[in-house]
Symmetry: C2
Subunit: 221 residues, 2 copies
């Protein structure tokens, strides 16, 4: 192995060990954690806004916001009066399990059912770092084109579900739903696909119902 590959393996091994600790820690406390990954601007924060509104008073949500710089996304979520920790990676291209472990200290986990982690906007690097999440959620916008799963398979092969967002833009793009579905089926046949639009509300009920089912199965496990 070259020096560079050895170092990378070492970083990934250390991340994986800590991710295992985080997962065990959250499992014990019956807190489900969802690691949301997408390109910049696919709509992660807006999806979180709609989800927080729908689940207010029903599910106790906390959010960990990862950003390269600024806390703009965290600011957008403040209106829901939920616990939020903002992690500024200072140029870093992904979150890791060590930063998640430190963020968790700031929550009262006895009063939390579900933690959403909004990862840094990046389809590549965040897929390589297990955060100790219960599952990964991929978000992709129709404006990005239907070839994203084929071109960036690592995330899509690992995610439990993918949200195809901004379906209100479908009439104005050359996005082919059949090509997208075919690529997804070959990369990850078990993945659940949702089509959503924060503007028309399409698909949000299906997403929320599925999320509720994951929460119930997680709590019962």
């Amino acid at each position: 192995m070259t020096m560079k590959i050895m170092i990378m393996k070492n970083i990934l091994d250390r991340n994986q060990n800590k991710a295992g600790e985080v997962r065990a820690f959250l499992d014990e406390r019956k807190v489900m954690m969802v690691n949301i990954i997408s390109s910049p601007g696919a709509g992660k924060t807006t999806l979180l806004e709609r989800t927080c509104e729908a689940l207010a008073g029903k599910v106790r949500i906390a959010v960990i916001e990862g950003d390269v710089t600024t806390d703009r996304d965290a600011q957008r979520l403040k209106k829901y009066n939920i616990p939020i920790v903002a992690i500024n990676t200072e140029g870093g291209c992904h979150l890791d399990s060590h930063s998640i472990s430190k963020a968790l200290v700031h929550f009262d986990l006895d009063s939390v059912d579900l933690i959403f982690v909004e990862n840094v906007g990046n389809l590549i690097c965040p897929s390589q770092f297990d955060l100790g999440e219960t599952f990964k959620l991929a978000v992709v916008s129709t404006a990005e084109g239907d070839d994203k799963p084929a071109k960036y398979p690592m995330l899509f092969s690992q995610a439990r579900a993918v949200i195809l967002n901004k379906t209100d833009l479908l009439p104005y793009t050359n996005f082919r739903l059949d090509a997208f579905a075919a690529d997804m089926a070959s990369i990850n046949p078990r993945i659940t696909i949702f089509r959503t639009s924060a503007i028309t509300g399409e698909g949000l009920q299906e997403w929320l119902a599925w999320l509720g089912k994951q929460l119930r199965e997680f709590s019962a496990a």
Copy 2:
């Protein structure tokens, strides 16, 4: 410094040294190189298609295509009968100057005026690696939202120009042109901003005229 930071500094130093060599090599041969960086799906390949069509018979173009996997983008450009080298990073999140140096061997540079490098779709990591390019070109789609320069300033602070693409989608998004322009002005006051749409053709003439001017000034330098 920690071990991780030392290693990263070493990688960046080695990249920078090789980038200097690449730049001197291309300058001597009067070949301009443009490093195109964007999120996945902002429209880099379509912009290259329109640019190759417009400049056919006028400017001798070659392309280096960077992709995490697949050669789909390189396949899309084959119809223009231009020299293309596809670099598959096998999961890597950016191109580096060493891979560019190796790719250049495959071109007959006496018959090339302009090399476009289509970097891996990623707003973060490619900004940290100088490839020896003449300048960086940022591409961002209106569907990504107007907050991308503020949230990912590194690329936008370095680029000579930014193409705001998919302006045909503006009526269907909440993109604020004034907020985008204000953020850009504070991050990089000297950057040139183009608004383009591959569908309506908006802004392509302005982009091509500006590109021609960069080429003339580069050749005369």
